[in-house]
Amino acid sequence: MALGNASTSRTPTASVGGARKGSRPARYSAFDIFRRGVTHADWPRSFNEHELKKSYDVVIIGAGVHGLACAYYLAKNHGITNVAVIEKAYMGGGGSGRNTAIIRSNYLTPEGVRFYDRSVKLYEDLAVDLNYNVMFSQRGHLTLAHNDASLRTMHWRAEVNKLQGINSSVIDAKEVGKIVPYLDVTDHARYPILGALYHPPGGIIRHDAVNWGYARAAGHLGVEIHQQTEVLGIETAGGKVTGVRTSRGNISAPIVVNCTAGWASTICDMVDVKMPLVTHPLQAAVTEPVKVFLPAVIVSGSLHVYVSQTDRGELVFGASVDPYPSYSLRGSLEFTEGLATHILELIPSIGSLKLLRQWAGLCDMTPDYSPIMGITPVEGFLVDVGWGTYGFKAGPVSGEQMAQLVATGRTPELIAAFDLARFADGRLVGEKGAASVGH
């Protein structure tokens, strides 16, 4: 596991069985629910608490979907289980619990498309893999175009997607109206819907379930998740990582993976690795539940809004990141006003629906809107950061690929394009076209 070089490796075709120290998790199935219902037997703990050990093979900072998935795949695919996931608050409490849970792979660059396609495939099998229903609903994803410039971008994305084997095409306003009758597809709207990029495999997922499913499965394979444990510093010697100082004591570890968002550059500063990141809040909001009427995920780049309806009946809204850098998790009134204005332009009949709650998360934006993954100038210090507004969609594939990097010491092909060095070498991977409210 020498992590100083940048050679590439391919994804292993079969998972490598490893020493499984953990206990066997309780099985989740309809039958087991029935059995425990009848016998009133308690479900066992899904997550165990541990004393912090003096040393680990790998320390992962951040128990969001990226950190938890990385830990899970380290244990499952590579048999590396002496792993600690360090979390300053509670698991899944950052971006992983604050996103709007949209999953898709209709990106703009070939690198992005390949990468997110792998993520969608992992998500499709995740419930069975983790024995935890993550409630992935592939209900279809519509990116609306309101002017010819955005229609052109949709065509561009569709062409790139098709060549990569992604189910994605441009449809006209009439077809949009057939899929979502509530949308105003008439041409007397102020910004008429001219068409949409339609991506049937896209959809929404229960984000908490993904976080918990990974945590539970990783824990049972022997990984330790330490919540309420803050990283205070990272120790190095001779350009190599040697350990981590935390609010609960010091740990020695040869490999530290930074899987944080919002505080990614703060963590990198601890080892003097400068990250080209600017942190912006991204706000979201949810309405009171009403009976289900929105069958697909709707995104409008021109109107800066996206919306989907959960199985619980709530409309979940999001928009673009706030226009200024900030670490504030407080929502703003103007955000909800803009959101409502644009939603009513798309769906004019729902003015009486009520907004119930708003919140914000933090997004670390990179200059090219693609993430930063892989090795850094400090040996043993790896990053999986800079996810901007895409982090949750990429959770499984990032975890899988970072785990492979840790285990093999070589950068997997799928993430080679996202290395930190690209900013110095001029190999940007431009996802901006799919990013401006591209959820």
């Binding site: 229903n133 009403v290 407080r330 409502a340 076209g433």
Partner: protein
């Protein structure tokens, strides 16, 4: 289940109903009635309705519990409006009120079968099942989604109602019109402060309204005092929805004659939060049966609406409010079957009955028949607005409730019951003291503390058994929290998310504290370390309509738009503007420009008027090229790059005088460029003297293009058009069609001899019509955007945002010649220095000819190598009417950029087509003879 009959009692001293005005409405399709002033719920209760809804998960019958806006059981469908808070909304004639979550009917709900299987529907049960077979999940999911709670969304086509907004700047805004809030408003107003007093209910008074004769007398005096101040504005049926940074406060005004709802945005000097207390439900077996009610609910129904809530009551009381309820129930004719006093160690463990309370089991096991069970077990301080100002409430063990900390911002103060307890007089006194201090802080004086009220000792009562309902709107039981904690979801956030407790419409106002208590007990932690979750805005739900306000999206059109439409223009939306795409035949329009003369309305072109001695410095910073030597009377083309070297905008800027320039930008970039320039001026170079005035809509822009353009223009202007004195890239000012002060410059986006005229907007149509009138013999005709796009493509001119994208740096767009790296500094320079050093090793914008001349590949068609490897794309593509063949621009890698390179294009149908990279970007007139003629 309903107990029909008349439950209205004799007139009460504080009742808010008008018995002389009957209100007729329908309830689940049947006729029903009440009085003006009744809420939907009080009218239903008066006619004996007890079951108001079915619950979300188990479809259990539910009745009134709090009788307030936040009653979790009293949301109704009223006509097309879902989730109407029926214990708050006044009933109106003709309302079509229906129960929610009930199918096929409120009394017989098939999904109540969920109760039978309830033991299997523990917290997170859906995470544990439907996993295999994977293929069936979409089908399961469809079924699950039919269980979504709430009302029906308004039908498609439901007209938008009128919503409005208002902006106010009070010195003091008081949230809560109870005794403390009224007192605070009065004292603040006495100092001369401008005060807004916001009350959630329909009238001021808070709990005094249903507190008996003495309270009513006090209330009358307070109301009179409030009314005596002209500088207090009272907003009733209004709620403070949120407090944001710098005391930016949102108020939703619900009822008004002018709009359904109004969002009031207030910049407040001092915000006084006098939200009072919310009575907390108690958790025990059967605590969700209709007939189980809070003491305040009974007091409200009796005192405000003269409705008797039942016939025989058991009262479980731990405080004076419960004691008061006993007296008031008795006076209303309800027999008191038993009093259980928590202060004497008595308890209630179970409400008996099916679908309605029929009896109560006490802690000692004894049973009492009753149709009402009233609980008075404690209070929750609604610290939401304080949280939004930084407060983190602390657990007051003696008072058994959270109280505000001292952490919140000094521009926010808390008054009255939310802080602590006291007699009415003490609450008023506290309010008065806070009001004086609030006004003082609003005047900018240093903050001084106000003595806090202390919560009275109160028994800590949360749950008596572990099988009750903790969150009625989410159907979460207390044992669900215990299971969640056992499964490892043992922090407050995880437990809340896993069980969804406190995630429903009341957002924790009723259930948060009980949830914490159950979790603390399950995990063996104390209350404070179990924590509280953050109350997020808004405090109360706000309709999307109120947030949006009036839909204000003006159509942006040029003054000639009506002319265009009258002359057959087909409109398009481009960069927020509605403008002519063409007038019927874009190909013919383009040909006419090449052979005769055409005119196009370019009004949307961004235009910035620049004045000041330092304009050249600004231009040198913003554009990549040099501006030091632009003479008065000349124009120059420039490209702006962002700091990453990516092409951001382009346009022509002309020098009109020594310190006066006119800059044009792309239509879609007009706003961004203005922002961008102001950003540099206001944050980096504040010493530069440049004034920027956006004049996009003040000037109509008309381009006259084609070989006959000089002749045409010469007929209506006093400007000397002789090419010897008015050459290419020059600007002149003069009279056009009798309109003075027109600016005319010679440029050529279309590749033809052309003049761009900027005319004061109100004369635009006149100039436009004059050009068409005097040029008939010259073949003049209007042309639209589509013809312009064809013409510029034939000429090989690129469009920012179409032939460039979010990553295209200047050299990649073929603009290297315009990048002057020798300049001291300009936006994007470091990146461009570095790109230049790559010596062409980047992607290139090239002109491309398909081998089949009649094939027009779609824009965005991909260019591939080695099968499906994407290496570039077609950015622009049209059939050229001039050349009778297709013309394209494309981005290709360096390896394919040399003239003659053969490209493979993937067509929309998947076929491949061959194309060749051309020598020159321009297909027509590469030497520029026509342009400069």
């Amino acid at each position: 289940m309903s107990a029909s009959g008349n439950w209205r009692i004799a007139p009460q001293p504080g009742e808010v109903i008008d018995r002389s005005q009957k209100v007729n409405f329908t309830w689940n399709g049947s006729p029903a009635s009440g009085y003006a002033g009744d809420t939907i719920v009080s009218a239903l209760m008066a006619s004996g309705v007890r079951v108001m809804s079915r619950s979300f998960k188990y479809h259990r019958p539910r009745g009134v519990i709090t009788a307030t806006f936040f009653d979790p059981n009293c949301s109704f469908q009223v006509g097309q409006e879902p989730n109407v808070r029926g214990a708050h909304r006044m009933v109106r004639n003709g309302d079509d009120v229906n129960a929610q979550n009930a199918w096929p009917s409120l009394n017989f709900d098939i999904r109540a079968a969920n109760q039978v299987v309830g033991r299997f529907l523990g917290p997170g049960f859906y995470y544990k099942t439907f996993i295999k077979p994977q293929k069936l999940w979409p089908a399961y999911q469809k079924v699950l989604s039919t269980f979504a709670p709430g009302g029906a969304p308004p039908a498609i086509g439901t007209p938008q109602e009128i919503f409005d907004k208002r902006f106010v700047h009070p010195d003091v805004l008081v949230a809560g019109g109870g005794p403390a809030g009224m007192a605070a408003a009065i004292e603040a107003a006495r100092t001369g402060a401008k005060v807004i007093l916001v009350e959630e209910e329909y009238e001021l008074g808070g709990h005094l309204r249903y507190g008996g004769t003495e309270s009513l007398a006090t209330l009358a005096a307070l109301r009179a005092e409030v009314a005596s101040f002209d500088n207090i504005e009272v907003l009733t049926d209004s709620v403070v929805s949120g407090r944001y940074d710098d005391n930016w406060v949102g108020v939703v005004q619900r009822s008004g004659i002018w709009a359904k709802e109004r969002m009031i945005k207030a910049r407040v000097g001092t915000l006084v939060v006098a939200a009072g207390l919310i009575e907390r439900p108690y958790v025990f077996e059967g605590n969700d049966l209709p007939g189980v009610m809070l003491a305040t609910a009974a007091l409200r129904l009796i005192g405000l609406h003269a409705v008797k809530p039942g016939t025989s009551a058991v009262v479980f009381t731990a405080n004076s409010t419960g004691d008061e309820a006993i007296e008031r129930l008795r006076a209303a004719g309800v027999s008191i079957a038993r009093v259980l006093d928590a202060r004497k160690g008595e308890n209630v463990t179970r409400a008996l009955g099916r679908g309605q309370v029929s009896g109560v089991e006490a802690g000692d096991g004894s049973k009492t028949s009753a149709d009402l069970l009233i609980t008075a077990t404690g209070w929750t301080a609604p610290t939401s607005l304080l949280n939004m100002a930084g407060d983190r409430p602390v657990w007051n063990a003696a008072g058994a409730r959270f109280t505000p900390s001292e952490l919140f911002h000094s521009s926010v103060m808390a008054a009255g019951g939310i802080v602590g307890d006291g007699t009415t007089a003490e609450l008023i006194a506290h309010g008065r003291a806070v009001g004086i201090e609030a006004a003082s802080r609003a005047r900018g004086e240093a903050a001084k503390p106000v003595a806090a009220l202390i919560p009275d000792a109160h028994p800590a009562l949360f749950q008596s058994t572990t099988v009750g309902f903790l969150d009625l709107s989410e159907d979460v039981k207390n044992k669900d929290i215990v299971s969640a904690a056992k499964e490892g979801y043992d922090s407050s956030e995880l437990a809340k998310r896993f069980t969804t407790s406190a995630m429903g419409p009341s957002q924790g106002k009723l259930e948060m504290v009980n949830t914490m208590a159950v979790l603390a007990e399950a995990t063996g932690r104390d209350f404070q370390s179990t924590g509280t979750t953050v109350w997020r805005p808004p405090y109360a739900p706000i309709s999307l309509g109120a947030l949006a306000g009036r839909v204000f999206e003006p159509d942006r059109v040029s003054p000639m738009q009506l002319w265009h439409e009258a002359h057959g223009a087909k409109d398009m939306v481009a960069a927020q503007w509605i403008r002519p795409e063409h007038y019927g035949n874009p190909q013919a329009e383009a040909l006419n420009v090449r052979s005769n003369v055409g005119i196009i309305d370019l009004t949307p072109l961004g235009k910035l008027d620049l004045h000041g001695p330092d304009i050249v410095k600004l231009l040198n910073l913003a554009y990549t090229n040099t501006w030091d030597n632009l003479a008065v009377g000349s124009v120059r083309y420039g490209v702006m790059c962002a700091e990453d070297g990516v092409v951001m905008d382009d346009g022509v800027t002309g020098r009109l005088g020594d310190d006066h320039y006119l800059m044009t930008t792309t239509s879609s970039g007009a706003g961004n460029v203005w922002d961008w320039l102001e950003m540099w001026l206001q944050t980096v170079h504040r010493e530069w003297q440049v004034t920027i005035t956006p004049v996009t809509t003040a000037l109509v822009s008309i381009n006259v293009a084609g070989p006959n353009s000089r002749e045409l223009l010469s007929r209506i202007t006093d400007i000397d058009l002789d090419p010897a004195v008015f050459g290419y890239m020059k600007v002149r000012q003069g009279t056009v069609a009798g309109v003075a002060d027109c600016i005319v410059w010679r440029i050529g986006f279309t590749g033809e001899l052309s003049y761009e005229i900027h005319v004061p907007a109100s004369y635009g149509l006149h100039v436009w019509e004059t050009l068409l009138e005097v040029g008939k013999d010259l073949g003049v005709a209007p042309f639209g955007i589509e013809a312009q796009r064809i013409l510029r493509l034939e000429k090989g001119h690129f469009i920012v945002g179409q032939d460039t994208d979010g990553l295209t740096q200047a050299y990649e767009a073929g603009l290297g010649g315009l990048v002057k790296l020798a300049k001291e500094d300009f936006s994007g320079k470091p990146e461009l220095v570095w790109q230049e050093a790559l010596a062409g090793n980047y992607s290139h914008l090239v002109a491309v000819e398909t081998v089949d001349p009649l094939l027009v590949p779609a824009e965005a068609s991909q260019i591939v190598e080695n099968g499906n490897e994407i290496v570039g794309r077609i950015t622009s593509s049209r059939m050229s009417p001039t050349l009778k063949r297709s013309v394209c621009l494309a981005h290709v890698p360096a390896s394919l950029s040399t003239p003659g390179s053969r490209l493979t294009i993937v067509l929309e149908n998947g076929d491949r087509a061959a194309a060749i990279v051309r020598e020159d970007l321009a297909f027509v007139d590469p030497e520029g003879v026509r342009l400069r003629g």
